[in-house]
C-alpha cells in the first residue's frame, strides 16, 4: 500500500494512504478528543469535537472525516482549536443534566474526561434546561436517558453497521432530538450491550449493571471469553471476588470492539451447581488423599482407563494432561462437546458476526495437542473399566458401568455418579491460554479467586509427581515456556 507522510504539530508521521487524521494521530500518541467517532464504526462527523487546523485550509476540519495526504501540515493544539473545543463542550453541556452522582457512566465518561482535560470552564447557561425522558426502557437489558444523550449517533451506526438490526434512529432535531426505537418495538439485538460500551456519556446504560457499583472501584482483568470458540478478548471487572460486568477488549483480528450479550450474561450470572472440595464415594476427604488414590489408580489400571478431555481446559493444562496420559499409558482419549455451563442460559446459534457454533473455547487446542482424540460417542464401553472425565456434560449413558474419576467445575450427573470427584475451576478463576477457532493462541489471567486452593494445573502437577514424572512446568509460565 502506498504510504504518505504528513506533519502533526511539527512531527513527521508516515502512515498508509487513506488513513484518517484522527487514527494517524492516535497511533502516534496525539489524542484528539472525539464523541461520535469510533474506530470500528463509519465516521459521521457530527460532534465537531475533533476539529483540527490544517494548513492552507481556511476553516478547521473534522479529523475523523479527513484522510491524510502527502505533505499535509496539521495542528491539533493551537489556541484557536482549544477555544473551539471549549465552545463545543459548552454547547454539548448546555442541556446535559450533569447528574454524574447518579450516573453509572461517571468515572469512565468521555464527556467528563474531555471536559476535565480540554475545558474546565464554568457554565454560563442560566436558562432552564430542556427536560426529556429520563427512563426510556429500550429493552429489558438497556435503559436510555434522553437528557444525558449528546446525539453522537454511535449507537445508531452500530445497529446499522455491526449488528445490522437497524433498530435505533434519531428523532426530532435541535435540542429536542433523541435516540428512539420504532413505535412499539423493543431493542432485542443479540449485541445490544455493546451500545452501552460505545456510548460516550451515560445515556445508554445496562440494566444489569445499573447502580451496582461505581466503575472506579472495579478491578479490571484482561481475559478471553469462554463462551464460544471465537475467543473474544474481554475485560472482566471484579470487586471483592465478584464479577460485576464483562466488557469487550479491542482486538482487530478477533472481535474488533464487540462481544455478544450471551457471553456477558454467561459471566455475570452467578454460577449455579458448582462443585466444591474433593470427595471419594460422596464423602469429603482431603485433597492429598484423592491425589494419592488417583495416582495409585493410574499406576495400576492406567491401561484400563479412558481419558475424556474437556474443551474448557487451557492449553497448559492439556500439555500436562498429555504428559500424564503418555506416562500412565492411558488407553483411550476422547473428547466431548461440554457445552452448557449453567442452566437456563439461552442457546444462541451461530451468526456471521461473532458467535460460533462450537460453544467451547478450546476445541482447537485439543485437536492440536491430541490429534488422535475421538468423540465420546465413538467410545466402546467394554474396552475400559475406569474413566477419567474432565469437565461437565459428558453423556452419562456412554459411561455406564465404568468407575468414574470426575474433575469438573460444574456439578452434573457425571460428577454426582463419580467415585472420585475433584472440584475444578471456571475459566475466570485460572491463568492459562485458549486457542480460538482461527488457531490464535490467546493468554488470559485469573480474575477471581477460586474456592479451592488448587486448580487443574496444580492437580496435574501433583499427579505427575505422584507418578514419579517431572512435570514440564509447575506454573503456567513454565509450561508455556516448555511448550515453545
Amino acid at each position: 500500500m502506498k504510504e504518505v507522510t504528513f506533519t502533526v504539530d511539527g512531527k513527521e508521521i508516515t502512515v498508509p494512504e487513506g488513513t484518517l487524521i484522527i487514527d494517524a494521530c492516535e497511533e502516534n500518541g496525539i489524542y484528539i478528543p472525539r464523541f461520535c467517532y469510533h474506530k470500528h464504526l463509519f465516521p459521521s462527523g457530527n460532534c465537531r469535537m475533533c476539529l483540527v487546523k490544517i494548513e492552507k485550509n481556511p476553516k478547521p476540519q473534522p479529523s475523523c472525516m479527513t484522510q491524510v495526504s502527502d505533505g499535509m501540515i496539521v495542528y491539533t493544539d493551537t489556541p484557536e482549536i482549544s477555544e473551539m473545543r471549549k465552545a463545543m463542550l459548552e454547547f454539548v453541556l448546555i442541556n446535559h443534566p450533569l447528574d454524574c452522582p447518579i450516573c453509572d457512566k461517571a468515572g469512565e465518561c468521555m464527556l467528563q474526561d474531555q471536559y476535565m482535560e480540554f475545558s474546565g470552564d464554568k457554565s454560563r447557561f442560566n436558562e432552564t434546561k430542556v427536560a426529556k425522558e429520563k427512563l426510556y426502557h429500550f429493552s429489558d437489558k438497556i435503559l436510555y436517558d434522553a437528557e444525558r444523550c449528546i446525539t453522537c449517533s454511535r449507537c445508531v451506526r452500530f445497529t446499522e453497521e455491526v449488528s445490522k438490526t437497524n433498530k435505533l434512529g434519531i428523532l426530532n432535531r435541535g435540542d429536542t432530538s433523541y435516540v428512539a426505537l420504532a413505535h412499539g418495538d423493543t431493542f432485542d439485538d443479540p449485541y445490544s450491550y455493546c451500545v452501552t460500551d460505545i456510548c460516550p456519556v451515560g445515556a445508554l446504560t445496562s440494566k444489569k449493571f445499573r447502580f451496582k457499583e461505581r466503575v472506579w472501584y472495579l478491578h479490571k482483568t484482561e481475559s478471553i471469553c469462554a463462551g464460544c470458540s471465537r475467543g473474544c478478548n474481554i475485560t472482566i471487572e471484579t470487586k471483592d471476588n465478584k464479577i460485576y460486568r464483562v466488557r469487550p477488549r479491542e482486538n482487530e483480528k478477533v472481535n474488533q470492539s464487540w462481544m455478544c450479550d450471551f457471553a456477558r450474561d454467561f459471566y455475570i450470572d452467578p454460577m449455579k451447581n458448582r462443585t466444591s472440595g474433593t470427595q471419594v464415594d460422596h464423602k469429603n476427604v482431603t485433597y492429598e488423599n484423592v491425589v494419592g488414590e488417583v495416582v495409585s489408580l493410574l499406576k495400576e489400571h492406567g491401561n484400563e482407563m479412558t481419558f475424556v478431555l474437556s474443551a474448557y481446559a487451557t492449553n497448559e493444562e492439556l500439555a500436562l494432561a498429555k504428559q500424564l496420559i503418555d506416562s500412565a499409558e492411558v488407553k483411550g482419549i476422547f473428547t466431548k462437546p461440554d457445552r452448557v455451563w449453567h442452566e437456563g442460559s439461552e442457546e444462541v446459534k451461530s451468526d456471521d458476526i461473532l458467535v460460533k457454533e462450537d460453544k467451547t473455547p478450546n476445541m482447537t487446542g485439543i485437536r492440536k495437542i491430541f490429534p488422535a482424540a475421538k468423540d465420546l460417542s465413538e467410545m466402546i464401553i467394554s474396552d475400559y473399566k475406569y474413566a477419567f472425565v474432565w469437565g461437565p456434560n459428558a453423556a452419562v449413558d456412554k459411561l455406564d458401568g465404568l468407575q468414574i474419576i470426575s474433575l469438573s467445575a460444574m456439578r452434573d450427573q457425571v460428577s454426582d455418579k463419580a467415585k472420585w470427584a475433584i472440584a475444578g475451576r471456571f475459566a475466570a478463576e485460572k491463568h492459562g491460554s485458549f486457542t480460538n477457532c482461527d488457531g490464535i493462541v490467546q493468554p488470559f489471567r485469573r480474575a477471581l479467586k477460586g474456592e479451592n486452593n488448587y486448580d487443574e494445573l496444580i492437580f496435574f502437577v501433583g499427579i505427575l509427581k505422584g507418578l514419579g514424572v517431572e512435570p514440564v512446568g509447575r506454573t503456567v509460565e513454565e509450561v508455556r515456556k516448555a511448550a515453545e
Binding site: D99, P101, I102, A106, R210, F211, R214, W216
Partner: protein
C-alpha cells in the same frame, strides 16, 4: 544567654561552651526537674485525698468537654428530605474520598423517578473513622453532615460502632426544612 520572644518571659538557653562542672554532672539539673514533678505529684495527691480530681484530663465517655467548638467534627448524620428519607443519592463520593475507608454504601433504585438512586445500605464504621470531614466536603447533595457532639461515639463492641442508615438518620435537625427534589444542580 537569653533570648526574648515578645509576650513571653525571658527564656534561658544553655550555652554549651560555658557549661559549668555543676551542670555537667547533671545532679543539680536532675534535682530541679524532679522538684517540679514532685510538686505536681503532691498537689495532685492532696487533691485526690480531699476527694477532688487531680488530673486535668476528661474522662471521655462519661464526661464531655463543655467548651467544645460548634465547628467540631463529631458524629455523622444524614440529612433528610421532607418525607423523612435520606437526601443521599448513593453516589459514593464520600466513600471514595474517605481516607479511612469507613463508609459502605449500596445503591438501589428509588421509586421516585426524579431521584432514581438512593442508598439501600449506608454504613459508617465509627471505630475506623478519623473525623477528617472529607465526606462532608465531597457530598454533592449536602446529604452528610457532622454534628459538634461527640457523645457516645465509643462502644465495647466494634460491631455496635458501625452506624447504619437508620442510626444516621435518627437526629433532629435545627435547620429549616430545606427540601431537595431530585438532584438539581
Amino acid at each position: 544567654m537569653s533570648y526574648q520572644i515578645p509576650g513571653l518571659p525571658d527564656m534561658e538557653y544553655m550555652d554549651r561552651q560555658k557549661r559549668t562542672f555543676l551542670t555537667q554532672i547533671y545532679y543539680r539539673e536532675v534535682a530541679r526537674g524532679v522538684w517540679i514533678t514532685t510538686k505536681h505529684f503532691f498537689r495532685n495527691m492532696w487533691k485526690w485525698m480531699t476527694f477532688r480530681k487531680g488530673g486535668v484530663v476528661v474522662q471521655y465517655p462519661e464526661e464531655t468537654r463543655p467548651d467544645m467548638s460548634p465547628n467540631n467534627r463529631g458524629r455523622h448524620v444524614l440529612v433528610q428530605r421532607s418525607n423523612g428519607e435520606s437526601r443521599c443519592v448513593a453516589c459514593q463520593m464520600c466513600g471514595t474520598v474517605c481516607p479511612a475507608e469507613c463508609i459502605t454504601i449500596e445503591a438501589e433504585e428509588s421509586k421516585n423517578s426524579t431521584i432514581q438512586r438512593k442508598p439501600k445500605v449506608f454504613d459508617i464504621d465509627i471505630s475506623r473513622c478519623i473525623f477528617c470531614g472529607f465526606c462532608v466536603e465531597a457530598c454533592p447533595v449536602d446529604a452528610i453532615r457532622m454534628l459538634a457532639s461527640t457523645e457516645n461515639l465509643v462502644g465495647y463492641n466494634r460491631f455496635k460502632m458501625i452506624y447504619d442508615k437508620d442510626t444516621l438518620l435518627n437526629w433532629h435537625p435545627v435547620v429549616n426544612d430545606d427540601v431537595v427534589h431530585g438532584y438539581n444542580p
